[in-house]
C-alpha cells in the first residue's frame, strides 16, 4: 500500500458503513417529513395564529396518515391490475 492516508481496519470500515446507512435512512425520513409538512401546511393551516389549535394538529396528522394510505392503495391497485393480466 503506497497511500499516505490512514487505512481503516475492517471493523472500522464495517462500523462506518453501518453508520452511513443508518444516517442515510434518517436523512430520507427527514426529507419525506419536509415534503409532507410542505403539502400538509397548505392543506391545513389557513391563518397564522399564536399556536396550532387541536383541529390544525388533527388535520396535519390525518394528512400524513392519508398520504401513506394513498401510497399503499396505489401499490395494491397496481398489483391487482398486474394480476388481472394487464
Amino acid at each position: 500500500m503506497s497511500s499516505q492516508q490512514p487505512q481503516f481496519s475492517e471493523n472500522d470500515q464495517r462500523e462506518l458503513a453501518q453508520f452511513l446507512e443508518a444516517e442515510n435512512a434518517k436523512a430520507r425520513i427527514q426529507q419525506t417529513v419536509h415534503t409532507l409538512t410542505d403539502s400538509c401546511w397548505d392543506k391545513c393551516i389557513s391563518k397564522v395564529n399564536n399556536k396550532l389549535d387541536r383541529s390544525e394538529e388533527a388535520c396535519l396528522s390525518n394528512c400524513v396518515e392519508r398520504f401513506l394510505d394513498t401510497s399503499l392503495f396505489i401499490v395494491k391497485r397496481l398489483e391487482d391490475l398486474r394480476g388481472s393480466g394487464m
Partner: protein, 96 residues
C-alpha cells in the same frame, strides 16, 4: 485482520473514524436545517406578505415570527405522525 487501530495505540485512526462520523452528522444536520429554513421562507412569505410594499411592516414581521413558530410546530407534528406510522407498519409486517 483484528481491530488494530483501536486496540494497539493508533489513536489517530480511531479518532479519525470519530471525526468522519461527526462530520457526516454535522453535514446532514446542516442540510436538514437549510431545507427547513427554505420552506419557512417560502411558506411564511406567502402567508404574511401578500402585497409586498416598500418595506416589511411591523405587522408583517410579527406574522413572520408567528409563522416560523407555527411551521416548526407543524413539522414536529408531521414528523411524529410519520415516524409512528412507519413503526406501526413495520410491526404489522413482522406479525404476518
Amino acid at each position: 485482520m483484528s481491530d488494530y487501530s483501536s486496540s494497539f495505540g493508533a489513536p489517530e485512526l480511531s479518532n479519525k473514524k470519530q471525526e468522519v462520523m461527526e462530520q457526516v452528522r454535522g453535514e446532514l444536520a446542516m442540510a436538514n436545517a437549510q431545507e427547513l429554513i427554505n420552506k419557512i421562507n417560502e411558506k411564511c412569505y406567502l402567508k404574511c406578505v401578500p402585497k409586498p410594499g416598500p418595506r416589511l411592516e411591523s405587522g408583517e414581521q410579527q406574522c413572520l415570527s408567528k409563522c416560523m413558530d407555527r411551521y416548526m410546530e407543524a413539522w414536529n407534528v408531521v414528523s411524529r405522525s410519520y415516524v409512528n406510522r412507519i413503526q406501526r407498519e413495520s410491526q404489522n409486517q413482522q406479525m404476518m
